[in-house]
């Protein structure tokens, strides 16, 4: 064999040895050095655990209308290293996902990021457009999206679902554990495409879908309340308002309308988070003369006054320290019966009733009616309100007397409605509630009306109802519900500020609270208008809305009039 051939053989041998060494090294590296780590990664890839989201239950109104449901949506993300042309990708995506191109470009070029979410909860139409672009590195993943088909309808009652798909505010938060469901898990060996291999061992823990909530809220009544409230606020150039309609026999809330409100479909566009809270339960106000209903109920129930009891209705009451507390507009009514005290909305008359009760009995009665404590309604964010009890720092002889006509006490709209509903139903305070049924598959849990306690006797309730019906009759020139006997009381409350009560235009809260029909009360309604500028007075700013709501409500519920009536005044017939 020649030298050249020997040399060639040696070279080939050396090359083979080198190749074998390289392969050997890689084999040892994979099998021994990195073996455990790679095995672990392979294991993790093959046996992946997927969280299977549960479907969130729907929220329906009392008529079965869908108020909240889930709709399909997508999340668009980018695998940063796979994006070939970040500039072009950003330009194309920007108009579709509603983010500036620069912002997207920044996200796509972040150093050290492998994965970035560009936008969430995209509509299917937008998803289809993105899919059609077929951009490298851009991925669409399905994710659930909560949708509210009626927009801002009852939004502060419903609340909304946040980015983490958890309930925030309203019923969505209160019943999150019930309506949200429990996510499931799927652990199994997968192929390259991520599909579970049928024969391989796997474990499947199915998700438990959320329950469906059926509310006491009647969409027809709610729509009436919201429409009327909206129109009244516009007419009165008010800053906001609340209307509550309650079934007095059960405590079920048929409508709870607030303005201003928000669209839960676009909660992230709301700049003022205070809009998310429900002012019907989370904001206290001084109720003004509507509170005289409670004062009178306590006076009648204690027997310290009767409807025909006469008091000297001067223009003011002077306290021992020289403080003078006046009637509205400093009016003097002369001798007046208790019914006339309510008709005149006499502060002096109301103070007389409180005086006869005494501070202890008066305070105990107010608490008995549920003021100063939550009503225990099934909504989050309820506050107690403020009741100045004897001995408490806020109590004084002045607040004792002013409380009798609804100043110096702060209540929530729901507390007032619940208390007046107790008079309407014969004296039993009911726990208000919003969820009528919880449906989970075939099982249905129905909320039963829950009496809290008796607050006044049936006789007192009947007497006061007759008195309040006369009060309503006295408003006939301003507002009325033709054909029906309704019990009601207006209120015009001053708004406390840092420098005492506010003065000037838009410095009152105008309201009316009442119930009817008197023969067999079914509904209790509160209309509260905040800072009206058209008229500061309850009977003018809130009265027409109250009457209109009651007319439509009685018509809607098919309750026939008890008195002959053939026409409905014009201007008050819009829903």
């Amino acid at each position: 064999m020649s030298d050249l051939a020997t040399w060639r053989l040696r070279v080939i041998f050396a090359a083979l040895v080198l190749l074998a060494s390289g392969i050997g090294y890689r084999v040892i590296s994979f099998a021994v050095l990195q073996g455990p780590v790679l095995a672990q990664r392979a294991e993790a890839f093959r046996f992946r655990e997927d969280v299977v989201p549960a479907h969130r239950g729907e929220i329906l109104d009392a008529r079965g209308r869908v108020l909240a449901t889930d709709v399909p949506a997508d999340r668009v993300s980018a695998i940063v290293r796979e994006v070939e042309d970040p500039q072009r990708t950003a330009q194309l995506l920007a108009p579709l996902i509603g983010r500036p191109a620069e912002e997207i470009l920044d996200a796509l070029t972040q150093p050290g990021r492998e994965w970035v979410v560009l936008q969430r909860q995209l509509d299917p139409a937008v998803s289809a457009q993105i899919r059609a672009l077929d951009l490298p590195g851009i991925v669409l993943d399905p994710e659930p999206k909560r949708a509210y088909p009626m927009g801002d309808f009852a939004s502060q009652v419903l609340g909304f679902v946040n980015w983490e798909y958890r309930g925030a505010y309203g019923l969505e938060a209160q019943y999150d554990a019930v309506v949200g469901g429990v996510p499931g898990q799927l652990v199994g060996e997968r192929d390259l495409a991520g599909n579970v291999i049928a024969l391989a061992p796997s474990s499947w823990n199915p998700p438990q879908d959320g329950a469906t909530l059926v509310l006491t809220i009647d969409s027809a009544v709610q729509y009436l309340a919201e429409s009327i409230l909206e129109r009244t606020i516009q007419d009165q150039r008010a800053t906001g308002g609340t209307i509550i309609v309650m079934d007095v026999r059960t405590g079920a809330i048929l409508a709870m309308a607030n303005r201003p409100s928000f669209d839960p479909n676009r909660f992230r566009e709301v700049t003022d988070p205070s809009l998310f809270a429900n002012p019907a339960i989370g904001a206290a106000y001084e109720p003004g003369s509507t509170f005289k209903v409670i004062t009178m109920a306590l006076g009648l129930d204690a027997g310290v006054v009767q409807p025909e009891t006469v008091v000297e209705g001067g223009a003011y009451r002077e306290l021992p320290d020289g403080t003078k507390i006046f009637n509205a507009l400093h009016q003097a009514f002369g001798p007046e019966t208790m019914t006339e005290v309510l008709i005149h909305s006499s502060n002096v008359g109301a103070m007389e009733v409180a005086d006869r009760l005494g501070p202890e009995r008066f305070a105990e009665g107010i608490q008995r009616f549920g003021f100063g404590q939550p009503t225990d309604v099934d909504l989050p964010g309820e506050i107690n309100g403020i009741v100045n009890l004897p001995g408490s720092p806020g109590w004084s002889l002045t607040t004792f007397y002013t409380t009798s006509f609804g100043q110096g006490i702060a209540v929530t709209p729901l507390q007032l409605v619940t208390a007046v509903a107790a008079i309407a139903n014969g004296g039993v305070l009911m726990r208000p509630y919003v969820v009528q049924e919880i449906r989970r598959g075939d099982r249905v849990a129905v909320t039963q009306p829950q009496p809290v306690r008796r607050v006044i006797s049936e006789e007192t309730a009947r007497t006061l109802t007759a008195m309040l019906a006369e009060v309503m009759d006295s408003y006939a020139g301003r507002f009325a519900v033709p054909g029906y006997r309704i019990a009601a009381k207006t209120g015009t409350a001053e708004i406390p500020g840092p420098q005492g009560y506010e003065r000037g235009e838009g410095a009152t809260i105008a309201s009316v609270v009442g119930y009817g029909p008197v023969e067999d009360p079914r509904f209790c309604v509160l209309v509260k208008i905040d800072r009206p500028k058209g008229s500061p007075w309850g009977e003018r700013a809130a009265g027409p809305a109250f009457a209109e709501l009651f007319r439509q409500l009685l018509l809607l519920k098919g309750i026939p009039p008890s008195q002959p009536v053939t026409s409905i005044p014009s201007g008050g017939s819009q829903p």
Binding site: V66, P149, M150, S219
Partner: protein, 152 residues
């Protein structure tokens, strides 16, 4: 002493094996059993493979169907949402006003109607009483009697 004659015909010569030795019958039987076993085992393996691949196929089919079901569920949800949106009372009112020219109620009149007196509850006619003799005679002769339970 007399020598016995030798029967030459009776003397047989032991045959000499000149060809291939024939396998014994028992060996051939073992071979047959082996072949059958191999064939059976092969068949079982094929069956196992077939079943395995079928199950895997069905597994993928199941996954695909589950995805389809989820997709359909999402479409149903989208349709429910659209339906609810269309049923929105604000939209219904707007349609009623614009499309059908409807206006809010301006005049309501309640009519009191006298409820008509309820019809008397029909009383079934008394069953005809037959004597025991008549019943026996009917039974013997096979005569039947039809009776209406209620008035038509």
């Amino acid at each position: 002493m007399v020598a016995e004659p030798v029967d030459r015909a009776a003397v047989q010569v032991r045959p000499t094996l000149v060809g291939r030795r024939v396998a014994p019958r028992r060996s051939r039987a073992w071979l047959g059993v082996l072949l059958v076993l191999v064939a059976t085992l092969g068949g079982l393996c094929l069956l196992y493979l077939e079943q395995t691949s079928r199950v895997v196929e069905l597994g993928y089919e199941l996954t695909r169907l589950q995805r389809n079901r989820d997709q359909v569920a999402l479409e149903v949800a989208a349709l429910r949402y659209e339906l609810a949106r269309q049923q929105s009372l604000a939209r219904v009112e707007e349609l009623a006003r614009r499309e059908y020219g409807m206006v809010p109620l301006r005049k309501a009149e309640s009519l009191r109607l006298a409820r008509p007196a309820p019809l008397p509850t029909p009383v079934p006619p008394p069953r005809s009483e037959r004597s025991w003799w008549q019943r026996v005679q009917d039974a013997l002769l096979g005569v039947g009697h039809a009776e209406a339970e209620t008035n038509p």
